[in-house]
């Protein structure tokens, strides 16, 4: 196992912040101190591509702190085990200034306010019911299609109208870079900033309806240099165009049922002669809470009408895995083992004959 220097720096930095803050808190407040560590371990069987394996999940550190009555900050760090090393991903880091319930201004690296899942859940597997995220919610580094992260500014607010809560979020950020992963944290490759607008209505009975619209330039560009920068000097490989994404979601959460439905339609248009592509992504998840058990079923679906220049150039696996048409059927159950830990067992079959995977997962938080 190789721990990179920056891994240690992040870790020491996080512990130092934690120590400083805990030292200032009373005993009662320590129980509320918003540091949580999420992790998981599992066992994976993947047929026919690999042997079955034990798997160590990521170590996810969430740290948030209220600086004063109006200002807060949040850091989410993920220590991600690889075959011969541990990578550190800075998943979210942002400060937030609250002007009122109707307007909160955040700046930094955020999860793009797409639909329900990406706006609600992050890396702690314990928080969501199944063992794995839906296909359309996969992170950029997992081969995901949607721009899960945005580096920039977010305006967010909510207000009560009758018995419902209306909310909005407007993200303005760097948008797509010449490479899909990692997100463009350090610079914008286009004069036009990316934006995403989310509108949703939440009702007291647990129903949430919403939609979002996203636009970003795909700037073209250069193959990244070895230090990760994508500036001049490399090989020009990126197609140039514009990405539009529209999404809808219908969610119902109650003490008995969990029903999640999300749909996204992605349009890539190119100004360099590449043909436009349309991508459809959808998942529908249904779970029933029966005491400590939550059996669930999920259907993932995706289509791609032709090989996409942007995604193909940088994630060759996308077109292979999506292959024009993708379907996953996932059946599983979650068992609440104790106050902060859950066991999950699920099996996923794909539309490819004979291809299926089984996952046992123990996720926990402390």
């Amino acid at each position: 196992m190789i721990l990179r220097t920056r891994t240690l720096i992040y870790f020491v930095f996080s512990i130092a912040i934690l120590s400083l803050n805990v030292g200032r808190l009373s005993h009662a407040e320590v129980n509320r101190f918003p540091l949580k560590v999420f992790s998981d371990v599992g066992y994976l069987y993947d047929n026919p591509s690999s042997t079955d394996s034990f798997r160590v999940g990521g170590l996810n550190l969430f740290l948030s702190s209220t600086i004063d009555k109006k200002t807060s900050f949040l850091v989410e760090l993920v220590f991600q085990p690889k075959v011969q090393s541990v990578d550190v991903d800075l998943e979210r880091t942002y400060a937030q200034y609250v002007i009122g319930t109707w307007l909160k201004v955040s700046a930094g690296l955020l999860h793009t306010a797409f639909g329900f899942w990406n706006d609600t859940y992050h890396h702690g597997r314990y928080l969501y019911t199944p063992a794995n995220r839906p296909y359309m919610e996969r992170m950029e580094f997992e081969g995901g299609i949607l721009p899960i992260h945005t580096a920039g500014v977010e305006l967010r607010g909510n207000g009560l109208v009758g018995h419902s809560n209306l909310l909005y979020a407007l993200d303005i950020g760097n948008g797509r870079g010449p490479v899909k992963n990692p997100p463009s944290m350090m610079r914008s490759y286009s004069r036009t900033k990316a934006f995403n607008l989310l509108l949703a209505a939440e009702f007291e009975n647990g129903l949430r309806l919403g939609g979002n619209a996203y636009r970003s330039d795909m700037p073209g560009g250069y193959q990244p240099a070895s230090d990760g920068t994508a500036l001049a000097g490399g090989l020009a490989i990126g197609p140039k165009g514009t990405e539009y994404i529209g999404g809808l979601h219908l969610v119902y959460n109650s003490s008995l049922f969990e029903i999640l439905n999300e749909y996204a339609r992605v349009l890539h248009t190119y100004s360099d002669g590449n043909p436009a592509t349309h991508i459809n992504l959808l998942y529908s998840q249904f779970g029933v809470h029966l005491a400590s058990f939550t059996p669930y079923f999920r259907f993932d679906w995706g289509t791609l009408d032709r090989p996409d220049a942007y995604l193909k150039a940088y994630t060759g696996s996308l077109n292979q895995s999506l292959d024009g048409h993708l379907q996953y059927y996932t059946l599983g159950t979650r068992y609440e083992l104790s106050s902060w830990s859950a066991l999950k067992a699920e099996g996923t079959a794909s539309s490819d004959p004979g291809a299926w995977a089984g996952t046992l997962n123990w996720s926990f938080a402390w």
């Binding site: 918003p34 949580k36 948030s64 007291e204 003490s255 029903i259 529908s284 249904f286």
Partner: protein
């Protein structure tokens, strides 16, 4: 064509499931909030609160009192006998689900921290009495100690 049929079937199944869920949950929620009282710390200026407002506070959609002071939720834990019934009545969730719900709100900076939890009504009342800005839902008819009742309106 088969793909479209499958999508339509899944959509229809979701809608049916949603309707079944609504009916079942409506039955579960029929008990309503009548058996509960809202208590607050003496620093809270309000003397009454609407049922909708209290639900929105529990759902973390309203996080500040008029005037800007933070609302601190004090909740019965899942170990408390009435924990599930309070969470069901005000959030349509169990107390364990409510805990996870609040945690997602903390890590989206909606709430500054998790609610304070009490394993019994008495413990909840003690925490409300000593925590400025706090509010809780407790079963009716309990000794409220040094807290004050917020009259619930419809």
């Amino acid at each position: 064509m088969k793909k479209e049929i499958k999508i339509v079937l899944v959509s229809v199944a979701s809608l049916i499931a949603f309707n079944l869920a609504s009916v079942s949950d409506a039955a579960a929620a029929a008990e309503g909030t009548d058996g509960f009282s809202v208590v607050a710390n003496s620093s809270v200026a309000k003397t009454s609160i609407s049922r909708t407002e209290m639900k929105q506070i529990m759902l973390a959609n309203q996080t500040k009192w008029p005037g800007g002071k933070n609302i601190v939720i004090v909740a019965l834990s899942s170990d408390a006998a009435e924990g599930d019934s309070v969470a069901q009545a005000y959030m349509s969730l169990t107390s364990d689900q409510a805990k996870k719900y609040w945690l997602t709100k903390v890590f989206n900076l909606v709430l500054p921290g998790l609610p304070l939890f009490g394993d019994s009504t008495e413990e909840v009342i003690d925490k409300v009495a000593t925590t400025p800005g706090s509010v809780a839902v407790i079963p009716k008819g309990k000794d409220i100690g040094k807290t004050k009742i917020l009259q619930e309106t419809n």
